[in-house]
Amino acid sequence: MWVYEKKLQYPVKVTSCNPTLAKYLIEQYGGSDGELAAALRYLNQRYTIPDKVIGLLTDIGTEEFAHLEMIATMIYKLTKDATPEQLKEAGIADHYVNHDSALFYHNAAGVPFTASYIAAKGDPIADLYEDIAAEEKARATYQWIINMSDDPDLNDSLRFLREREIIHSQRFREAVEILKEERDRKIFF
């Protein structure tokens, strides 16, 4: 069960009406290394992982939904009052004819979200290594979006999200260490 707080994890401000940036950001919404994929991946894996790290997957999976909500807000703000003509210039006319300015789970190239973006192998090490890789890929994606963006307020929020990916990666790495260590093993003579 979840408790919803009706506020964003970090403020989302957008300086200029720039639907082109929305086109890039949708990668983190419905893309393979996006926030939706992350949330679903962790919240699903937690049923078949040792007890010691279930809570970590619950916490991080939950936070990913808070990030998803921030990305949604960014995309919404960037396209809110854009005319069809502006959306066309931004290269998202094909999105418009299907969805108007509604959000949808697809990546920056328009490929719809699929469950094959995520994995659950049932092997704790394999799954945690996948999670670490996912965090690093999401971090890199944020870097590429920041490199493409000239919106200072938007970049500020993106930097926050990138920093969270670093922390999540750190925690998954620690989870691997917890599962590897033999400190509590009984020694028989």
Partner: protein, 74 residues
């Protein structure tokens, strides 16, 4: 970051005389602090709660500000 590790690395990709685009020069990649930390040590210095909420981490040792590395070269 408090260690000797840098959080950004670069390399110069080979540029053939037949490559059509002008050479990009350096390619950059991030190597953030989490790659070097292992288990987080106890009693690391902390930001104030308010500052931590804005930075995205409670510990300066994990903070890694990112700027487009290709922009400052111009």
């Amino acid at each position: 970051m408090n260690s000797k590790n840098t959080n950004q690395k670069s390399y110069v990709p080979y540029h053939s005389p037949y490559d059509p685009c002008p050479p990009i020069g350096k390619k950059f990649y991030s190597t953030p602090p989490n790659l070097y930390m292992g288990f987080q040590p106890y009693n690391l210095p902390q930001y104030s709660p308010k500052e931590a909420l804005m930075k995205g981490t409670l510990w300066p040792a994990f903070y890694d500000y990112y700027e487009n590395p290709y922009e400052k070269r111009r």
